[in-house]
């Protein structure tokens, strides 16, 4: 089997051989940090602000809402006893609830932890096991592109996959790139001698590496234009897809690996910068509050990870940003994805696009619906589509040439529902640097 050769055996084994439907044999002790996350249920005064903001509860009765499955249900969960509150699985994990809660209840985080307990007990369906393994899928699919892109475009096969796996036949998957971003970077030479002092490790994530190397290329171009030395460290999937599917054991394994691989760079004076607001949020916040990983190295990584626009804004404030943009006028709809919002850094990408001369119409919708892999699931596709509908309608109304969004899964989802090309804001900025010498 030539396919297996490219796969890490342990990953393969854990991904496919754990029996489904049986209580998992391995019981992880509840980490004290995650215990503190769940104890934020104490802060709830039942005001319902989260429930009125929840995009999922607004469109389906299958999800009783963040207050009900979050702080309310949390008081009835016991570390040793199984809990049968399966409705928590209808939480998309978008995090809007945690963001709007005026009292500091970490609702989405609590729900992620509750889902992991369900997975510990009842096992992970093969479908979720597959969807969570973005790195594995990339490793498998990328070398065989464009051939590997054909199967997922065949309607009869998609019907079969829907019937047997529960991945909705309407869900569109991105195309694998034959050349990965990492391979491109190995051959890439920085254009001009770098005289700056800032050193960056670029966290590309799975999407940039296997599907959209252009996003990484744009990021490198922008960073190098600003005299920044960019390195690509050894890194893994951030683990978020597994975490949001409730497989904390695998997510923690990836998280620990990233902490181990990246912390030494931070000690050397590098900062970690990424274009995927989901990956960077995982490194910054979720390793700690959801996966319960603590320690000097984890904290070091969390404190020195930045979204690329957050980082560029810092450069700008320090007067170190090259602001000689080629001005362009274009109207775009900019959708700040949920994970970007959870960074709590404002909307620096929108600000930069405006400086380039763009007319930026900001999305009035909190979540596009897909929430990573949530919307790809058969039983959730329609819910996710209903969540995103106001956004799709807004896009249709504005009718821009392009939609701009920081998160890959959101871009793909928006593209498939609106037919509009969706790009990362760093691509827009890279364009604005083109055609001008330093």
């Amino acid at each position: 089997m030539p396919l297996v050769v490219v796969v890490d055996t342990n990953v393969w084994v854990s991904a496919f051989l754990t029996p489904r439907g049986h209580p998992a044999q391995l019981k992880l002790p509840l980490q004290p940090v995650t215990l503190l996350t769940t104890l934020t249920s104490d802060l709830c005064i039942k005001c319902n602000i989260c429930t009125s903001a929840c995009p999922v509860a607004a469109v389906t009765d299958l999800f009783p809402g963040p207050k009900a499955v979050g702080p309310q249900a949390q008081r009835f969960r016991h570390p040793d006893l199984p809990s049968a509150d399966h409705s928590v699985d209808y939480c998309s994990g978008c995090g809007v609830c945690s963001l709007v809660c005026p009292h500091g209840v970490q609702i989405a985080e609590m729900n992620a932890i509750a889902r992991s307990r369900l997975v510990e007990r009842y096992g992970l369906p093969l479908r979720n096991r597959l969807l969570g393994r973005s790195e594995l899928l990339g490793k498998l699919g990328s070398p065989f592109a464009p051939l590997s892109n054909i199967p997922l475009k065949l309607p009869p096969l998609r019907k079969l996959i829907e019937a047997f796996l529960g991945i909705d036949a309407r869900a569109r998957f991105p195309a694998f790139s034959r050349q990965t971003f990492r391979r491109w970077f190995q051959r890439h030479k920085a254009g001009a001698p770098l005289i700056g002092f800032r050193k960056v490790v670029f966290f590309h994530g799975c999407a940039t590496n296997y599907y959209e190397p252009r996003v990484g290329q744009a990021a490198i171009a922008v960073l190098e234009r600003n005299q920044i030395k960019v390195s690509i460290a050894e890194q893994n999937c951030c683990g978020l897809p597994m975490q949001s599917n409730g497989d904390f054991a695998s997510a923690r394994a990836y998280a620990r690996s990233n902490i181990r691989k990246l912390a030494p760079w931070v000690r050397e004076g590098y900062v970690i910068v990424g274009t995927s607001t989901s990956c960077t949020l995982a490194l910054k916040h979720e390793y700690h509050s959801i996966l319960g990983l603590t320690g000097e190295e984890a904290d070091l990584l969390a404190d020195n990870t930045y979204d690329i626009f957050e980082f560029l804004e810092m450069l700008d404030e320090a007067g170190q940003l090259d602001t000689r943009f080629v001005r362009r006028s274009e109207t775009v709809v900019y959708h700040a994805p949920c994970q970007q919002r959870s960074h709590a850094i404002g909307r620096p990408a929108a600000d930069f696009m405006r400086r380039v001369g763009f007319t930026v119409v900001e999305s009035q919708t909190d979540c596009c619906g897909v929430a990573g892999t949530y919307g790809l699931k058969k039983e959730k596709y329609d819910i996710a589509a209903a969540v995103g509908r106001p956004l799709f309608e807004q896009i249709a109304e504005v009718n821009p040439n392009r939609v701009v969004c920081d998160s890959e899964t959101c871009r793909w989802w928006i593209e498939s529902h609106t037919g509009k090309k969706s790009v990362h804001p760093i691509e827009v900025l890279a364009e604005a640097y083109k055609g001008r010498k330093q």
Binding site: I45, R75, S87
Partner: protein, 545 residues
């Protein structure tokens, strides 16, 4: 109303219901009179600990032995009201180090099962505990929901042919010469007088036993030992945690249901009906909590309440050193008044044993020999037992509590075959549904809002009835067809009770929550202006002690 029975038991707490159940099983015609609701008194106000006996081994070996035996017995007969949390006795840096060996030796002497574990094991299970623990001993403590337990006893009693009359207050003991022949009083629900004749009256009225005995012309001195407890909003521990030191204020933390209860203080109060919770008591408990769990006082406190221990006082000591043991009083021997026995003192854990002694004595008085069978009679719960923590969530999730009215209330749409509609949750904190309330109203005689609390836990969660009281009041009003004034009065009284319990811990998150509740009831619903049956003060801001 004139009625008669063989055994008439005064008091619907653990002792009274235990004795009634025991007597009914022995074939006596048995009736219980209770002036309030089940568990209205001390039984409904206790911390929820089913003692392993460890607390008493050093100072009161007799109580320790009884607790150990009764702990095992109650696990057999009312398992659905008990959560097997296990318990730790652990020494914090503030506790005397030499107590540990004394404790261990005394446990062995008193046959209280005990195992020493490492601090690492204790911290693994209870990560919030003070990491600077000394020695840790594991014992067979458990959590017992006294509301569930008393409902089970009442259920067992009825199944054995006995009866419970709630809201029947005794105002007179009827005597023929020096012999007690019955009681007279008032049905508080209807205002009607009643008389009850009985072969024998058993006084099980706990902290009120002295009052009842006085009606028969006997002097029984029962000291009311007030114990203050604070319920924390979450289960900070899942194991009962005891301080490894001689019994003292604030030495125990009990996970019971959704909360954890820190207790208790111990001060004598002049009357079991009037007492206040003092600031120093709250401060003391929060401070002791800090010893067990660093940061304890920054976690959310839900409410504070007090119960009064009925301590039989043959004279002398302060309440902490007064025996927790029970005393069976034969008034014929003691006061020359026949036809009445009193059981005073004691503790929740040993109620079955006390009941057995009392009914044995009753048998002797009635010159009949009927053996006690309670130690080996299991009481099957009438419905789904909900005491284990995830059970309510499971039931809600599975749609077990759903009725047609539930299914259509939220969305106006009938449930489809493929998707269950969510049940209408009335009390969101304790997950009480509309159908549970309706069933309860159908089954119980003349319930008031506060009975729903004791029966279903309505209004006992974090928002302390902020979101459920007006909903439940509406359902009661609709279902029972009370007058508006009556329903309003119930709503007001219920809220007063909730707010009273919140006042001593009104800071931080609780205060924030209470402010929201006050806006709901006063600003939106105009609680102050509702027409009621009589003047009810809304939310007094001055302490009334």
């Amino acid at each position: 109303m004139k009625l008669s029975t063989e055994l008439l038991i005064l008091g619907g707490g653990a002792t009274g219901l235990g004795a009634a159940w025991d007597a009914a099983l022995r074939g006596f015609k048995t009736v219980v009179l209770e002036k309030g609701d089940l568990a209205h008194g001390t039984s409904g106000r206790y911390h929820g600990l089913l003692h392993s006996g460890g607390r008493y081994v050093v100072r009161d070996p007799q109580s320790a032995r009884e607790c150990a035996a009764e702990n095992a017995a109650l696990r057999r007969i009312i398992p659905s009201a008990i959560e097997d949390t296990g318990g730790y006795f652990l020494s914090t840096p503030a506790d005397p180090a030499d107590y540990a060996d004394q404790f261990l030796a005394a446990c062995h002497t008193c046959a209280v099962p005990v195992t020493e574990i490492t601090t690492a094991q204790a911290l693994q299970r209870e990560p919030l505990l003070n990491p600077r623990l000394g020695r840790v001993f594991q014992v067979r403590d458990a959590a017992c929901d006294s509301f569930d337990a008393l409902h089970l006893l009442a259920h067992g009693l009825r199944a054995a042919g006995g009866e419970v009359f709630l809201r029947h207050r005794v105002t007179e003991i009827l005597k023929s010469g020096d012999r007690v022949v019955g009681v007279a009083g008032e049905n508080l629900a209807t205002g009607e007088p009643f008389t009850f004749h009985a072969d024998l009256v058993l006084n099980c009225s706990g902290a009120w036993a002295g009052h009842i005995a006085a009606l028969a012309g006997c002097e029984v001195k029962v000291t009311a030992g007030k114990g203050v407890m604070i319920a924390m909003n979450s289960r900070l521990v899942n194991t009962v945690v005891n301080r490894l030191k001689p019994p003292a204020d604030g030495d125990i933390l009990v996970p019971v249901g959704t909360v954890s209860v820190i207790g208790t203080t111990d001060t004598a109060v002049p009357s079991p009906d009037q007492y206040a919770i003092e600031d120093w008591e709250v401060d003391l408990l929060m401070g002791e909590g800090e010893q067990l769990i660093p940061g304890f006082s920054r976690h959310r406190a839900l409410r504070a309440w007090a119960g009064v221990r009925p301590l039989y006082d043959p004279g002398g000591k302060d309440t902490r050193h007064m025996s927790r043991a029970h005393a069976l009083l034969d008034h014929e021997e003691r006061d020359g008044v026949s036809g009445m026995l009193s059981m005073v003192g004691g503790k929740f854990t040993t109620f079955r044993h006390m009941a057995q002694l009392l009914v044995d004595a009753a048998c002797a008085k009635l010159k009949t020999d009927r053996p006690c069978v309670t130690a080996r009679t299991l009481i099957e719960p009438p419905g789904t037992p909900l005491h284990a923590l995830p059970k309510r969530l499971e039931a809600l999730e599975s749609g077990k509590w759903q009725t047609a009215s539930d299914a259509t209330t939220d969305t106006g749409q009938p449930p489809t075959a493929s998707h269950q509609q969510p049940a209408a949750t009335i009390c969101e904190c304790e997950l009480v549904t509309r159908s549970q309330i309706e069933t309860n109203l159908r089954q119980s005689g003349s319930p008031i809002l506060n009975d729903l609390r004791r029966d279903l836990r309505l209004g006992m969660g974090p928002c302390q009835a902020g979101f459920c009281a007006y909903r439940a009041a509406g359902i009661i009003h609709e279902t029972l067809g009370h007058s508006h004034r009556n329903s309003n009065s119930q709503l007001l009284q219920f809220l007063q009770e909730r707010w009273k319990g919140e006042r001593p811990v009104m800071w931080g998150h609780s205060l924030r929550s209470l402010e929201l509740d006050l806006h709901i009831y006063r600003s939106i619903l105009g609680l102050d202006t509702l027409p009621t049956e009589r003047e009810i003060e809304v939310y007094p801001t001055e302490r009334t002690s």
